[in-house]
Symmetry: C2
Subunit: 149 residues, 2 copies
DNA sequence: TCTTGACGTCAAGTGGACTTGACGTAGTCG
DNA sequence: CGACTACGTCAAGTCCACTTGACGTCAAGA
């Protein structure tokens, strides 16, 4: 009987690393932080569940937009310890993250639009356009931005 | 004749720090990197032009969404050394940044939407929905994401 | 004038996110 | 069976973005 190979649920470190586009050392690191989990073979080698790839994709996508590993772990921590996450698990995480992501998107769009508007009015110069009031910017990104990320 | 005070163009470090919501040491640091500039008084104290507040707001807004200081400096470096930036200066920077920001927004929205969809289908489980194919995610965020940020 | 606080410089420390190195073992292939 | 590669652990190193510390100076108010 031929061995199932392509559809194997348990993946080796090298496979995971390559498919997720991260270094094996990064897998160790993430595991040490509790972001991902593995089981061990008789010979003490790690084996990752296939859905670890999803988790890694999620981690990297989140990181990419400036979210820290602690925050990501917090979200992932709401998945069940063992077994597959349920709809309910995801719904819980999702509610929190949506707010966070919505907020980040909002800021990013604001940044982009402010930039676009600056083309039109030549701002960053003093008192030349409605966007040039530093306090407006402070209101949007200043003290608030310090507490928030 | 009374001294103009509120509308002073040149600001002291403490004023800039407070209004921009950063530490004075951060101003020093940014200056050492060439992100902001200052002139000195007779007594060797720094004085910042008022539009430094805009630059700082821009820096922090950009940082917030995961853009590094080197990249930010690169953009700011396209502003003129002395004098106020012109429409043309901004247009040049803006074109490049818009692409960058558009891209980041796109990824963020994709992340959010993937998350939202997961509520509907209970994914992160194996083979349960169109979003669960790890290679799809790899295509979007995997190897590409490593080169790109 | 004296004191207090904001500011100056420079070196070193911190925290996050990994990577590298040293060194020993496990599995696989010819 | 032997060699080679992938993997294991653990400590230390790196890079970025700042912060802290030590110590001296400038400036404004009582």
């Amino acid at each position: 009987m031929p061995q199932v190979h392509e559809d194997a649920i348990w993946l080796k470190p090298g496979q995971v690393a390559e498919r997720a586009g991260v270094a094996v050392s990064t897998l160790h690191y993430y595991e040490s932080l509790g972001l991902i989990r593995s089981r061990r073979t008789a010979g003490n080698r790690r084996e990752y569940r296939r859905d670890t790839l999803r988790v890694l994709a999620f981690v990297r996508a989140s990181q990419r937009v400036g979210i820290g590993l602690d925050r990501i772990k917090e979200a992932l921590g709401k998945l069940p310890e063992e077994g597959l996450p349920t709809k309910k698990d995801w719904a819980r995480i999702s509610r929190e993250w949506r707010d966070d992501l919505d907020d980040r998107i909002e800021h990013l769009v604001a940044l982009r639009d402010r930039f676009s508007n600056c083309i039109g009015c030549g701002c960053l110069s003093l008192k030349s356009c409605p966007y040039s009031n530093p306090d407006d910017i402070l209101g949007a990104d200043g003290h608030g931005a310090l507490r928030f990320p």
